[in-house]
């Protein structure tokens, strides 16, 4: 089930969560950067994107890749290093990409994808192609000079660029409030005259709504926009990192889980019955089983592929 209906949003968020839970049970992939807790950012954003658009993201790529509609089996294959992955297993979590599907890709240098996204947007503008470029980055990237340079260039050339700050409030162990001076990261866009919004990143409907509004403005030629989504990751920075955040804080944020929230909303609204929810869960579990089976059966790249596609 694809698309931007509420039920499709719920399903995709459940898929990301379940997919990552499966990954966490395994140790044969080195480590992963999980999106659990932050599903609503990528899923809400992707509900506002269309086929001609391109999405870029940080190394925390699983949520964005699945939200953009990549095949879960191929994503799993890429994460497990198999040649059936879209990058033939060479990119992994940090560099997943499927540009033909509108997923220009992840880049695991914090802030490293910002100027790249501006360049992709410049190409769209210069070639008069429809579409916009969206780039998801974390609060950590707001400390990088690349953001300043990107905001400036996007503003002076009115690039069709949607900058999405997935503010999960921590860079590994360091709280954003300790190392970033602006209290509201969206305000970073103001000096450049770039319109900005801050939304609840745990609320997929709020993210979708905001993303649709700014995307519409960008498509009508109004230039770049900055969307800050306040979120929280439920896992450690990576599956290999120790937890340093206060347990009470973590537990409190878990009560705001975007999946629980949309489930309650749809249930209260009467548009999601218990049976339908169970069916969705079963359907997602089946998709994940299929993805794991596909990836496990897929072949590793041949060692000689270390030298292919280099130059």
């Amino acid at each position: 089930m694809r698309g931007s209906s509420e039920r499709a949003l719920l399903r995709t968020m459940m898929l990301i969560r379940g997919f990552e839970e499966e990954l966490q049970r395994r140790r044969d992939h080195g480590f992963q950067l999980l999106s659990s807790g932050e599903e609503a950012v990528a899923v809400g954003l992707c509900a506002a994107l269309i086929g001609d658009d391109q999405l870029l993201c940080s190394g925390r790529s699983i949520g964005p890749a699945l939200a953009r509609g990549l095949d879960p089996g191929e994503v799993m294959a890429e994460l497990l290093g198999k040649a059936a992955g879209p990058c033939r297993g060479k990119g992994g979590r940090g560099h997943m990409a499927a540009p033909a599907l509108g997923f220009f890709g992840a880049h695991a240098v914090v802030g490293g994808n910002l100027t790249i996204a501006a360049g992709a947007a410049l190409a769209m503008q210069q070639q008069k192609r429809p579409g916009l470029v969206a780039c998801i980055f974390g609060d950590g990237a707001c400390g990088s000079g690349a953001l300043h340079e990107t905001l400036n260039m996007a503003a002076i050339w009115q690039l069709p660029l949607l900058l999405v700050c997935d503010n999960n409030q921590y860079s590994v162990s360091t709280p954003a409030i300790q190392v970033l001076a602006p209290r509201r990261l969206a305000s970073l866009a103001s000096p450049f005259g770039i319109p900005s919004r801050t939304v609840d990143g745990m609320d997929v409907l709020a993210v979708r709504q905001a993303a649709r509004e700014v995307a519409t403005a960008i498509r009508s030629g109004k230039g770049p926009a900055f969307l800050e989504c306040i979120s929280y990751r439920f896992s450690t920075h990576s599956t290999a990192t120790r937890e340093t955040r206060p347990i009470l804080e973590l537990e409190e944020w878990k009560t705001r889980c975007p999946i629980l929230r949309l489930t309650s909303h749809l249930t209260e609204e009467g548009s999601l019955s218990d049976d339908t929810r169970k069916q969705l869960a079963a359907d997602v579990a089946k998709t994940i089983d299929g993805a794991i089976a596909f990836a496990d059966a897929a072949l590793w790249p041949e060692p000689r592929e270390a030298l292919t596609d280099v130059v």
């Binding site: 990409a97 499927a98 490293g112 360049g119 410049l122 070639q127 596609d309």
Partner: protein
């Protein structure tokens, strides 16, 4: 290229502008990005006329954001444009290493061939009185990056031809001018040609020693060779033109004849171009009589006395070669 091909005398900067004008005419996706590349025509007038001919969208003045414009260029290249990004001085290229090296050079590999970044980063190396952060030759740093090609012409003909070839590459190319070469002129073929990337050229034949260099230092090498000839030392001078990939075949064929090798570069000899060439040739030919010539292990000052003291010159090349050949 045949020496009889009809040619026209052009200054170095004119050869660059001509190559760019031809490429921009040929392909609407070719754009030029950089500081002062627009109506100003480039710091060395090497973009003169392009802004007037192709307009502000295709010849785009940028903010002073070296990292930003290289990233922008790499992203635009990956998304279908053919950008040439101008970084006025090679020293500032360091600011753009992240998008160039972490992204551009690895893009084809990391995406399993789905994306490529055919960008040309054009920059200017070398000392000409501008001081410690405007004089460096760091081309050897780039030679160790898989996925990156590096070229450095010594004359207008090669400048023209290498830019033409760089626009036919599928990945990133760093093209390096030298400040002291801009006022020089040369005969550039009237008809469109290209100088293949990866091919060195013998500038002077000789049989006692092979002297390898590139960019402005070729002029120093040729003058040193002329001086040494008076002492009956016959130097074969090879102009690398392309630093990555290196034309090891051309170099090894020459050294197999001369049995001695001197490398000359304006940059540092530690992990330098010469160090790499000597190592590669030793692996191929066995133990070699070889010497590296380069700048002193010190920053290059804008002070004229100290700048001259730091850089290799004709006298230093001659004495290094004499010493090597005397060593038996």
């Amino acid at each position: 290229m045949s020496s009889e091909a009809p040619s026209i005398r052009l200054f170095f900067r004119q050869a660059i502008a001509r190559a760019l004008a031809e490429e921009m005419q040929l392909d609407p996706n070719v754009i030029v990005l950089g500081q002062d590349v627009g109506s100003f025509g480039g710091s060395y007038k090497e973009f003169a006329g392009l802004y007037e001919q192709f307009g502000p969208e295709r010849v785009r003045d940028t903010p002073v954001s070296e990292s930003g414009i290289i990233g922008l260029g790499v992203g635009a290249a990956a998304a279908g444009l053919r950008p040439l990004v101008s970084i006025t001085y090679m020293d500032f290229l360091m600011l753009g290493f992240d998008p160039l090296i972490n992204y551009g050079a690895k893009l084809r590999y990391k995406t399993g061939g789905q994306l490529r970044a055919p960008i040309i980063v054009k920059t200017t190396a070398g000392a000409k009185g501008q001081g410690v952060a405007h004089s460096q030759c760091i081309e050897s740093w780039l030679m160790s990056v898989p996925g990156l090609k590096v070229v450095a012409p010594s004359n207008p003909t090669d400048a023209y031809g290498l830019i033409k070839s760089a626009f036919r590459e599928e990945g990133p190319v760093v093209y390096i001018d030298h400040k002291r070469l801009f006022p020089t002129a040369g005969d550039v073929p009237i008809h469109e040609t290209a100088v293949p990337i990866g091919e060195a050229i013998i500038r002077r034949t000789g049989h006692d020693i092979t002297l390898v260099s590139h960019s402005y230092m070729i002029r120093v090498a040729l003058e040193a060779a002329q001086l040494l000839a008076k002492d009956n030392i016959s130097c074969e001078v090879i102009d690398l033109r392309s630093l990555a990939p290196l034309d090891i075949e051309c170099l090894s064929a020459s050294v197999a004849r001369t049995a001695a090798l001197a490398t000359l570069e304006e940059g540092q000899i530690t992990c330098g171009v010469g160090a790499e060439i000597i190592a590669r040739l030793q692996e191929k030919l066995g133990p070699l009589k070889a010497v590296r010539i380069g700048a002193l292990a010190a920053p290059v000052s804008s002070n004229p006395v100290l700048e001259a003291a730091c850089l290799p010159d004709i006298a230093r090349v001659c004495s290094a070669i004499r010493l090597l050949l005397q060593s038996g």
